[in-house]
């Protein structure tokens, strides 16, 4: 009846000494929360309520609007603008996939292969943020110009024939086509993909790669079975941070696209700021919000990651 006693396992539940949230003043948390939360309620939540009510109003700018529970606005808006809706979701999805494909190698490079260049590459990823994104988006007009080197190259490699056939481009141009818009969207939201990916990759213990290699996994298998699953939180938040703003964007479509590439953001913007048809604009905006929230919720549930960003 004897054993050497080194460190016995806990008998009782662990001492709750380091319980995270502690109580000090009973009202202190509420005072701390009050100003910020009030700000969000008044300038974020309340506007959504106003918008919901606007969407079921009828009337005109001159006579004023009244709530008449006119839900037909939703139906009218959808039946008129469903192509733009669909287009927004397709473009955003395309840009998200491209961001993932482009962003993952770079994030991986920074996390595991950059060595002493890590900080420099990090700076180069973040620094463009400080040049207004509109200026940078305008630069794509130069890059994709009709007589520019890129279009020439694509043309001589017959890539444009392929994209024309797919309907992504038209004629000898890239500018003013869906390809240009998706290209711009990808460019604009790429850092939002790279940073969360990098954060989750960086947390992975390098020894796991060695362990996988030791257990007969080839590099590609290691990536599929170890690295990628462990970076899932980054993939999930990266795709959300890319897809959501891309779906609501209208800048890229406006600057790099044409009337054939109008996205739902363009429609909302025009309805609100030029046509001044507030109920339709509010309804469209509401549908966009509902659609995105629904998709995000399903996506988060399915990927099983609750913590974001």
């Amino acid at each position: 009846m004897s054993t050497l006693t080194e460190a016995p396992p806990p008998l009782a539940p662990a001492e709750p000494a380091a319980e995270a949230p502690r109580k000090r003043g009973r009202f202190t948390p509420y005072w701390l929360l009050l100003p910020g939360i009030l700000w969000l309620i008044v300038f974020f939540a309340l506007p959504l309520v106003y918008q919901a009510s606007t969407s079921v109003q009828t009337g005109s700018l001159e006579e004023g609007y009244k709530v008449t529970w006119h839900f037909a606005t939703y139906w009218d808006a959808l039946s008129e603008y469903w192509p733009q809706f669909l287009r927004s979701l397709c473009y955003a999805a395309g840009a998200t996939v491209l961001c993932l494909l482009l962003g993952y190698p770079l994030a991986y490079l920074i996390a595991f292969r950059a060595g002493r260049w890590r900080n420099l590459i990090m700076i180069l990823v973040i620094a463009p943020f400080f040049t207004s994104f509109l200026i940078r988006t305008l630069a794509w007009k130069t890059i994709l110009a009709d007589n520019g080197p890129i279009v020439h190259a694509l043309n001589s490699l017959h890539v444009l024939d392929l994209t024309n056939w797919l309907g992504w481009t038209a004629g000898d141009r890239v500018l003013a086509t869906p390809l240009a818009v998706v290209c711009g969207l990808t460019y604009n939201f790429l850092p939002f993909m790279i940073l969360p990916l990098y954060t989750s990759l960086e947390r992975i213990d390098g020894r796991l790669h060695e362990a996988a290699g030791d257990l007969y996994a080839k590099p590609w298998t290691t990536f599929r079975k170890v690295t990628f699953p462990l970076s899932m939180p980054g993939v999930v938040s990266g795709t959300l941070l890319t897809f959501i703003p891309a779906a609501g964007d209208y800048v890229n479509s406006e600057l790099l696209g044409s009337t054939d590439t109008r996205m739902i953001g363009n429609v909302i913007q025009t309805q609100f700021l030029r046509i001044l048809d507030y109920p339709t604009a509010a309804a469209l905006s509401f549908i966009l919000m509902a659609a995105i929230l629904a998709m995000v919720t399903i996506y988060i549930r399915r990927s099983g990651t609750e913590d974001l960003v």
Partner: protein, 381 residues
């Protein structure tokens, strides 16, 4: 002994509950001024909670904490003349070593701290490192900064919460001696929380073994080791062989018990169980007190010693000693440690042996307790 008792710590009826969970059952404890006191127990036994109540970091649910004659139960930690060396040190990462050590002095409005801080850093042999940040120091150095940061305030009592837990074995030995030296030098009451029985025994004058929110036994290390009063203490401090036995006769100073077919004798003074004749009792004996003889030499065993027969099940050579596991009719799996003075080549697994020891080394425990409490193998409740 000094007559100053301002460093006495008196806990009376102090207890702590979290909802339905009782972390510390109301307990009384007096730690005299200038002593080195250890609270020993497995994690979750309530030792850290007790320490935190003395520090003021936890409000007791019941009872009072007194320092000398002052009731400090309701004083916040920053008003108590008590300082703590935290587990994993809790050095301020944004301040350098000098400022870490000066922190307490500055908060008490002391302006010229330079001399004191330098002296204190000298005491812990870190004078050179004053302008480094904590993360630039090794674990042992960080540990000494934590001690210096607390001691510079001349607290009445210094509380140490697993101060050596993060160090490797060799450094831990070294720091044990170092802390003991510092304590002797400054003469402050130290209360030390640890789960390492060896650390507690090396350093402390008095050890309180805690289990399940209660103090199981309190005393000097030798006393606890030689004369454990509960199975938990017997198993948690070192290793014990506990043999289930039945009381045969009880005459004055000695109790005779039957285990298997053999009779064993233990001093009544070393039996913490009531032990009426015919009642059950657990007979305890430390593995290093047992001598081993080959069955062929059974005749050479002196009279008056407790003896059991058995067969060697396993032997492992560990340098200074050989540890045997012996199956005896009285009890399976007895541990015996034999010093490597003259090794008997016949003592190999399978050999029949006689175990014998002095009755004076035997102790008796209440058989109503779990026999494996504190071994680390008991089924978690």
């Amino acid at each position: 002994m000094t007559t100053d008792n301002s460093g006495d710590v008196r806990l009376s009826g102090i207890g702590k509950t979290y909802g339905a969970f009782t972390a510390v059952h109301p307990l009384d404890l007096t730690v005299p001024q200038g002593s080195f006191f250890a609270l020993l127990g497995a994690s979750g036994c309530g030792k850290t909670t007790t320490l935190r109540m003395i520090a003021g970091l936890e409000q007791p649910t019941s009872g009072t904490v007194r320092l000398g004659d002052q009731d400090v139960t309701h004083l916040p930690p920053y008003k108590r003349p008590v300082n703590t060396v935290f587990q994993s040190y809790a050095l301020f990462p944004h301040l350098d070593i000098f400022e870490n050590v000066a922190f307490g002095l500055r908060r008490r409005g002391i302006k010229s701290v330079k001399k004191q801080v330098e002296e204190m850093l000298e005491l812990v042999q870190l004078g050179e490192q004053a302008r480094k940040k904590p993360h630039q120091l090794s674990g042992g150095q960080q540990q000494r900064v934590a001690v210096a940061r607390a001691l510079i305030n001349h607290p009445k009592v210094l509380l140490l919460d697993e101060p050596l837990g993060a160090l490797d074995l060799k450094l831990r030995r070294q720091m044990q001696l170092e802390l003991k030296r510092i304590q002797t030098e400054v003469g402050i009451t130290f209360i030390h929380v640890t789960h390492d029985q060896e650390e507690a025994m090396t350093m402390a004058d008095t050890v309180a073994v805690m289990n399940g929110g209660r103090v199981e036994q309190l005393g000097a290390p030798t006393d606890l080791y030689e004369n454990p009063k509960t199975t938990f203490v017997a198993n948690f401090l070192g290793t014990s062989n506990l043999i289930e036995a039945e009381v045969d006769t009880k005459d004055g100073a000695d109790v005779v018990v039957k285990a298997g077919g053999d009779k064993l004798v233990l001093p009544a003074a070393r039996c913490s169980a009531p032990a009426p004749a015919g009642g059950k009792v657990l007979v305890g004996i430390r593995p290093e007190k047992i001598a081993l003889a080959h069955a062929d030499d059974a005749g050479a065993v002196p009279q008056g010693r407790n003896r059991l027969t058995g067969k060697i099940a396993d032997a492992s050579f560990i340098g200074v000693s050989t540890q045997y596991v012996i199956d005896s009719p009285a009890c399976a799996g007895l541990s015996v440690y034999v010093q490597n003075v003259e090794r008997d080549a016949r003592l190999v697994p399978g050999a029949d042996v006689v175990l014998h020891w002095s009755p004076a080394h035997t102790f008796g425990l209440d058989a109503a307790q779990a026999i494996d409490a504190g071994t680390g193998e008991e089924v978690a409740a």
